[in-house]
Every structure is written in C-alpha cells, then in structure tokens.
Symmetry: C2
Subunit: 427 residues, 2 copies
C-alpha cells in the first residue's frame, strides 16, 4: 500500500486550508496591483548554479537540489530573487525600467526537520528594479505594511526593523576590516539572535576579526541598541551612511507609516547580496521568527554578468504570518459558499435538476446540486454544509405545476415560484 502522507516537510491544502491560503494570497495580489505592480512567474526548477554564490548563505547551504535523468544539476528554487535577476538579464534591452513586479512562488529548502519547520513555503515577492533612490524603499515598504492592514494587523502588533548595511560597512571599515570580508562578516552578524555570544565571537574570529575588533563591534551594537544617535559617534568619518536612514524615516512619516518603524542597526538579513537598506518585520511580542524580510540589492544583476541595476524588494512567507494571525485570532473563519443548492428528491428529477442548476449558472450564480436524493431534512442539512444561501426544492407536486420552492437558508423562509419566471430572473 502506498503511503498517504505528503512528502516529508510538504503540505496538503484541503479546501478549508485552501480558503485561508486564497484569502491571504488575494490580499497580497490585490495590494500589489493597487500599488501598480505586475505579476510574473518562473518555473520552480532552476539550474543549481544560479545559487552558487561566494559567501555561505544559509539559503544556498540548504539547497533542495538533485541530478535529473539527463545528468543536470537542478534545484527547487530556495528564493525568487535569482530567478527575477535571470528574467531581467534575459531581456534587459527590451524591458522598460523601472520594473515593478510581484509574484507568489513556492520555494523549497532541504534542511534537517527541526522545530516543525517545513521544506516548502509560498513567498510573496515584490520588487522595484531600476529606481535608484529612496522612493523605491518607500513604495516597497508601503505595499508591505498596507497588506498587513488588510489582514487586521497594525503597528501595535508588528514593527518593521530597518537598517542600512552601509552603516555596518562603515563600522567594519572603521575598525579595520577589509572590504572583501564585509559580506562574510554580515552573514555571521545575521545569526546574532540565534547563537550564543561565544559561538558568534568564534565565527567572527574565523572571518578574521581580532579581539580588539570584536570588542569594538560589540560595543557598537550595545550603543546602537541604546540610541541611534550613538551610532554616528562609532562611525567616525563613515557617519554619512546614517543620513539616508533618517531621510527614509521622514518619507515613511509622510505616508503615515512611521508608527511601524524601528531603526535597528543589528539587522543585516541572511542574504549576501544586500547592499543598502535592509528590513525585517517582527511581531512586537517577540514570539515568532521574522515574518518578512527584504532589502536593496544593487549588485545582484552584475553578479550574474549584467550591468549593475539598482533593485529593492522583499520575500514574505505564508507560514509565520498565519501563525501570528492565528495567535491574535485574526484568521478569518471561511466556509465554502454558493448561491443555490438545487435539491431533487428522486432520480426521475435528475434532468430537471441539471437544467435548473445550469440555467442558474448561466445567469451568473454559483449553483450546486445534490443527487443523493435524501429526504428533505437531510438534503437541507447538506445544502447548509456546502454553504448555500438558498435551496431550490424540486417538490413533486409543485414541479408538476411548473413551480419551484425556493428556501432562504438563513431566514428559514420558503416561497413558491413559477419555474420559468424564476429561471429567467433568479432573485
């Protein structure tokens, strides 16, 4: 006998789970369209070499990859941005910039199964490509925060922690770390909340920091946690990097989203290709992992052999947000719903039931039928189960007279109607 379980780490979506998924995806899609973004997609399969990058991102270490029957190294995409870069470079001479694109791809990773983490999730991606200034940051962050409001979340539930990697670049330069080690150092710093201080210090020593540099780095983080004003003092001649962040805060204030924002100089995000602004969405209660993360990646396209094109975007997974909404009791109770359940009571009525349902659909209504010919009480119960607003009863005597009985399921009222008149103009 075949196993009935889904593949380890993957999810099935029965209609009740699918309704919630569609509710969330619709919010993402409608928000994207409202902000003027266009949808795109690529196949879940990509060449493995699309993800081979210098610095050891967690995401590429956990690649769900395999060899296909033709001997090619294939990966199930771990994230969408490299595919986006591929699509843009393929048509860079014909596309009209700036691009404002979004997509909701399924992404995979292969890691040991701990803490109930899955091997796949869906991830809303929204990117602005070819718009170099902070307006791109504002549009991307506004879309993200506006989508949250549609789910019932506000600044009392979540905060967006924002940073600029150039601030860390400035600090690392200031304490004498050569530029070509900055990305590696950041990938380690990103694990700051997950690892013990001892392990973290050791990993930073592996990147080349000595004890003095480690002390300065840790002093910076302590100071930064106290106040953003302290940050400039640690940066010395590299202090200019803080200005952009303050300007971004001002612009977000202008669109009414300042309440969500916390400046947090320890945020670097795990992906090695970020070059400037980085941000992550966290629940204020601190119960969950990062809900969404993103940033500016002005060099990614050049890493694939193209010119450098300024770009910024985020990836917003479907798992943590649902955990948070469930915790806050903000997940909607969604039931299947149709306009009419057509209920025949004998096999002889099947052709009429099929005709009635088909004509209701032709008039633009959602109609289902029940051909199990149950008695009235159980048939109405089934109609209620499938979420019918009204039931159309094919009672033998009435039908003989060319009549139907239409029952309002909530009001529990019934009216007798002429079949033809009703079908020509239902409701």
């Amino acid at each position: 006998m075949t196993t009935l379980q889904p593949v380890r780490g993957t999810r099935d979506f029965y209609p009740e789970e699918m309704r919630v998924r569609n509710w969330l995806f619709d919010i993402w899609r409608q928000t994207s369209l409202r902000f003027g973004f266009e949808e795109y997609d690529a196949c879940v399969l990509e060449s493995e070499d699309l993800y081979i990058r210098k610095a050891g991102d967690e995401i590429t270490e956990q690649l769900y990859s395999f060899e296909d029957k033709g001997g090619r190294r294939i990966a199930l995409r771990p994230e969408m941005t490299p595919s986006l870069a591929r699509l843009i470079l393929q048509r860079k001479n014909t596309l009209s910039f700036p691009l404002k694109w979004f997509t909701i791809p399924q992404c995979f990773r292969y890691e040991r199964m701990t803490r109930g983490r899955k091997r796949e999730h869906y991830q809303w991606n929204l990117d602005v490509v070819g718009q170099p200034d902070l307006t791109a940051e504002v549009e991307v962050i506004s879309a993200l925060l506006t989508s949250l409001e549609k789910t019932g979340l506000d600044a009392s539930h979540v905060e967006l922690r924002v940073n600029d990697r150039q601030i860390l670049n400035g600090l690392l330069s200031n304490i004498g770390i050569p530029e070509d080690r900055h990305t590696e150092a950041m990938v380690v710093i990103d694990k700051r909340e997950k690892l013990s201080p001892e392990v973290l210090d050791q990993l930073l020593r592996d990147v080349g920091l000595d004890n003095d540099q480690l002390d300065k780095l840790n002093a910076f983080f302590s100071a930064a946690e106290e106040s953003f004003a302290e940050v400039g003092r640690h940066l010395g001649s590299h202090g200019a990097a803080t200005e952009g962040l303050l300007r971004l805060l001002e612009l977000l204030q202008g669109v009414g989203l300042r309440d969500y924002i916390t400046i947090d100089c320890t945020v670097v995000r795990g992906l090695s290709y970020y070059t400037g602004t980085v941000f992550e969405l966290r629940d204020r209660a601190g119960k969950f992992r990062s809900i969404c993360g993103g940033g500016r990646y002005d060099s990614l396209l050049s890493a694939f052999g193209g010119e450098s094109i300024p770009a910024i975007g985020f990836g917003f997974g479907d798992v943590v947000i649902q955990e948070l909404l469930a915790e806050l009791k903000l997940l909607p109770e969604l039931t299947h719903d149709i306009d009419f359940a057509v209920l025949p009571f004998s096999e002889q009525q099947a052709p009429v039931a099929l005709e009635v349902a088909q004509r209701l659909r032709g008039a633009g209504f959602r109609a289902g039928s029940d051909f199990s010919y149950r008695k009235l009480g159980r048939a109405l119960q089934r109609a209620s189960e499938i979420g019918a607003r009204k039931a159309v009863l094919l009672l033998p005597e009435e039908l003989e007279r060319g009549e139907l009985v239409v029952r309002d399921m909530a009001a529990r009222t019934e009216v007798r109607v002429d079949k033809e008149a009703f079908l020509n103009d239902p409701e």
Copy 2:
C-alpha cells in the same frame, strides 16, 4: 557566467504571458466556483511510488523523478489524480461525500524534447468523487464546456469525443480477451492515432491478441467509425454497455450542450485507471493534439488500498488551448492597467507624489508613480505604457496653490482640481 535560460523544457512568465495565464486560470477558477466546486492543492513533490501502476502508462514511463538528499525516491507530479486519491484516503472518514473539488496544479514529465513539447504545464483538474450516476458526468462535462464558452470557443470550433470503456471491455470479452489483459490492450489502443497500423498490431500481439482477434478488433473500429448503431451488433451479449452512453447524450441535450458531443468508440485515453465514461476535447479542424481529457475512475482509490469510491474528472492543460485560441485569434490582447499614474517633475516633489499615490490607493484605486522626473511628454508616454487611465500631474505652480492637474489619458483632456478635495474623493 550563469546561464540565463530557464531549465530545459520549462517556461518563464513575463508580465505579458502572466496576464494571459491569469485570464485563462480566472476562467477556470470562476467556472469551477460557479459549478459549486471547492479548490484544493497538494505539493508538486510526491513519493515516486504513488505512480507505480501495473499497466505501462505513458505518463508513468515519463516520470520526472529523482533521489533526494535523504535517499528517498521523489517525483514531480505528472498528473494530479493520484494526489487527489491520496488526500481523500487520508481523510475518508471525515470528508462529506460527494466531493466536488478543483485545482490548477503544475505537472511535469521527463521525455526527450521533441516537437517543441514542454516538460511542464499547468492543468485544470475538476473532479466529482462519490456520486455514482451519470449526473456526475453531466456536471463535469458541463463545467468543461461552459469554461470554453468564456474563452470564445463554441461547438463550431471544438467537439467532445465521448466513449465508455465498458463498450471496449464488452468487445474485448466478446472476441475472447481475458479481463486481466483489457487495461493493457486499452493503453495500446489509445495510441491508435499516433502509431502506424503495423506497429499497433504488433503491440496488440504483444498483449496476447491473435490474428483473428486483431481482425475482429479492427473491423469493430471501422464499423464504429461508420455509425454507433453498428457498435451494438459487434458487442453481442455485451451490448448493454451502449445504453449509458445514449442516456448521457440525452442528459447533455437537456442542458443545451449536445452540439459539442460526438460518440467515438475509439477513444480510451492514456490513463490505465479509467473504468467507464472517457472523453477528450478536440479541435474540429484536427490541427492540434487533444485539448483536454477525462473520464470515470471508480477503482483508483481501491488501488491505493481504500474502498472503491466512484469518481470522475478531467485534466485540462494550459498549452494546447492557448495554441488553439491563438490560431483562432481568440486570445485577448491584455495590457497592464492602473487607474492613476502620479507624475512628479522634480526630486523635491517626491514626498508629495508618495503621499498622493498612497491616498489614492487608500481610496481603493490602483496607483503607480514615476520617479524618473522626465519632461511632461515622456512622462505621459510612460504613463500610457503602464496602462494608466488618468495621470496626476504635479505641476510646480499648481502644486504651490494646492492644486493638481488630472489628465484623462484616452480623452486627452485635463482638469485642474483642489488637491485635498480630489484626494478625499477621487473621480
């Protein structure tokens, strides 16, 4: 440098292709909902053993399978029905039958790349499970044909060829083929249009037919092509199998879909699990492969170790239908569209532009901005490219007076409006 091509046999969807895909999927989704079906989904990954069946279906021979890092045999699903069976069996005690479910999964196969065929496609699946009589056939076929009408196709463009495998079972029994060879014989008969008569005869000999039986089979097909009345004569005592098909025809007549239907006793469809009604959608001009195929599979769930549950459904791929619609010039010309393009003309106006766009979105409109600060003519050209109905011009003098200029892009007319009044009630 990384390759910029998608993985061999897979497709990228740039916004222009995505718009067509969304147009088609929306028709499928809306039709399904109108017929009272509920959406479900499962992961594209399944255990390979879900597809190991006795008879050599083409679809399992071309399985896109691999070994994962944990040594498991995994397949990218070639079709959805086995996943549907798995989902149903997993919860067979709590689900309320009949189920009317649909989904639009991506499916994969791994075959040599010939005739431009792809290794992936999307496939609308719609199934009724637990409804044993012909009303299920009528509902599934009606949904299929109704969806076509939304694309602009009608019975002059396409036909649905319908058969009942029990007719072929009857014939095979009649000419002395033991029942346990029927499925294998059918899988060969399915290739009737693709192979030469000689190759076909040889494959049937391999299944165990002798020359006399081959002659009788071929005589049956010739007679069946002439007229359905001839079919009964060949079936002898097994003739009862034709009655259901005639009854189905009558029911489809009752819902106004008879014009689409052709009875064709050579149709068997490639999947070994079909047990009764089978059908396929073809273009009348005969230029394309089968557009959609389906049938009744009353034994599939028992093959996975469950009880037998009557079921019927179809799989409708997204590739051939688009080829046919393109050929008939029925594919819509879809452009990106937004309500408002907000056009600032200097960097100093960026905060105002962001605020205007955000408030338009808050009022329920689709709004985009262009922060490249082009001159008026080029800015309007860009607004037109992104499909804006109206442009909101931030002209310096007007803005100073608290006014905006709103341009109707099609009518080429402009009105000067009070900024606050307009944003409180756009349009």
